[in-house]
Symmetry: D3
Subunit: 161 residues, 6 copies
């Protein structure tokens, strides 16, 4: 069983030491879904056809959140990410928006948390933009689907890709 590297032998939290690790190119991809009523999705899409603002604001929020990850997740290292791209895909049955964030870096540690944070805040922003119409929306299955680079190599999620 792997150990929880954020907790040292006496149980206290610490920021893991990555000083000696190599700088490599790393990429992480995370996904999540915002479930909503069909009418809410229609509302977004009609607006989106005209102006696209819900998706545009949510995408900006996700990109800016990726940059804030180390301020939000206590044991995350501050990182100079080199790329963020967020794709939003509306789907039906059930009505939902699927979010995918891809984050890159040339660094000593990975950007999994940056990709997941981008998805979470992007989803929360969709909720915020639409909550006057639908408070029952839910943000689901925020998960890492892929990461590459670094000593532990490539990971591809098996369950619920």
């Amino acid at each position: 069983m792997s150990k929880l590297t954020h907790l040292d032998e006496t149980g206290r939290a610490r920021m893991v030491d990555v000083t000696e690790k190599d700088v490599t190119h790393r990429v992480a991809t995370a996904r999540g879904t915002v479930f909503m009523r069909a009418e809410t999705l229609a509302l977004i899409l009609e607006r989106r056809v005209e102006k696209g603002d819900v998706f545009s604001v949510a995408r900006v929020a996700g990109i800016m959140a990726a940059k804030k990850t180390s301020e939000l997740i206590p044991m995350c290292h501050p990182l100079n990410i080199t790329a963020v791209d967020i794709e939003l895909v509306p789907k039906e049955k059930p009505a939902r928006v699927e979010i995918e964030a891809v984050v890159k870096i040339a660094g000593k540690t990975g950007v999994e948390m940056e990709a997941m944070t981008a998805v979470a805040i992007c989803g929360l922003t969709i909720y915020d933009m639409c909550k006057a119409a639908d408070r029952e929306m839910a943000i689901g299955e925020i998960r890492l689907v892929k990461k590459s680079g670094g000593k532990s190599g490539t990971f591809i999620r098996k369950n619920g890709f």
Copy 2:
């Protein structure tokens, strides 16, 4: 059909004007779940019995995130929240941690986004603390379960409470 109040008639994003709204006591409760392998939960719980640090760090992260909500969600108003409480409950079959955040304010607008942001960042922190052991964890169903106060009154979620 309710309208999307964050988009004005020409479609541009704006921060909704709440200047004239009354100051009332408002409470919002949000929930979410971190799904994980049984071994991962056991690992947290053994540690937790000893030191409780995974849950402690995640709870601090969630409380601090509630205070950062208006920096993360573009159209949220800056608010002086007056209370945040986060409860973490480990459960089995399937192995998971359930998160509930309650946020309060005496203010002109509600704290739904603060409660949901607290849940999301709390869940992401659990992921971050444990990801060396289990990259397949997923954060699910972040949702508003209840809110009270303000002109729109009390909301209680119907589906998937």
Copy 3:
């Protein structure tokens, strides 16, 4: 001659004491202009017709910056602004984008700096989004055009409105 209230009698900087001031409704309007080549404006507008993203991103940046004002301007009080609206108007001869930000609050001090900061960061974001096409753009005449509320009452700019 008015005195510089941020400097006390011995010359040291301080945050002016507004503890005893009344809470009143206050509004501030600021303006600025981004000058650019006609080709650059055409490029934005073509995109804007399709997707509107340059203006959308700039507007989000301006709204978020208004909320960050007290982190940026050292002697500004932290404030819970209650509304931000930013209008972007493309104009020709010379090619430019005019920016107007309106910020509101029910508070003890005004929101002039919030409106001006929104204009400045909105303009800088337009520059950033387009600088690959035109590095010669300039952001001009960021100015307060109007403010109301508070003990000093209504101000309307005389020169260069």
Copy 4:
């Protein structure tokens, strides 16, 4: 015509991928001007002779803002800038303060936005420090005057240097 690299082919905003770019030494110089009444400038200068605080506070604000650029400008990469220097020069006829910011880095992308943000926030701080005496001040012509380093090489502004 150059393309707007912050917008991909489908029009959605993204943070441009600089992962593969070389680390080079880069410098950017930006300028701007705060126009004011002659009496306001005299007031600053008298104080400045005594204590220098308006200029000192504005300079600190500009330096700190350069470090916050990627939090303010949505598509900017987070960068570890290695030097910031801000020069403030009072001038007469018309009464004004000229601001010049020089920012450096050894990095994969340039620091133009950092230099321009430093100028903008420095100017806004001068406004804030003096606005009790003169609300008609205006901040003008924030512009990039020079940048060097990186694949696109050296740029020197032609118009309105």
Copy 5:
């Protein structure tokens, strides 16, 4: 014995609920000292006579830090402080700079942590500005000397005022 109100009965951290508390005028005064070599103090003072920049930068840093308190101290409530004033007094035998910060608010909870944070960051900034000359400086006895307002009334420190 008073109880530790930040820890509930099950030991988990929470932000204390102040929703029902009255808004009153509150003031807190904190102090601290930066000890240094006599040569270092002389260096600051000579500069200070000329330009005053070490003290000026440190004062700005302290004021800005007071505004950031709730981002730094996990269980602190976000507050709209209404005044910050920092006084720096150089003293000899031993050579030192004494720091006093006074913070005010009209709010539901006190500003003790804001005053203490202002002192700490002001002291650290003096250290940073001078550390090339003297790495042996130390920042001592950061303490609350007085607070008034609120239900618990006035506190005046007995020991080591």
Copy 6:
């Protein structure tokens, strides 16, 4: 006598240019102490045996503060620190908690301020968590005890180690 490198020849503050400096592995260790009544320490320790939350929250606060150093100390360079570890040791006669923070980086400049900031905010958080029981606590002797790496080499504090 060393010169104050943050002040240039005309006395204005600037962020020292480190562009040309080498990237080396650097470590800094800082210490401080929170003095309190014996009853307060007992209270923490009893809690700590059960749940450890005071120390856990303070440690998280210190780690997160280390990452915020360049936002707090005006002339500090933004840095990607690679490790933070904070040790808290309760001691008696007098009753106190000793704090030691170790910060590391592979970078162009040292992390002394990051280690000292971690100690200061960790100490302030202990104060905040316990102030309902003991307002007379004081945070003392925040100091750099050791640093290594970089051109100036290793420093070990002589006085008051």
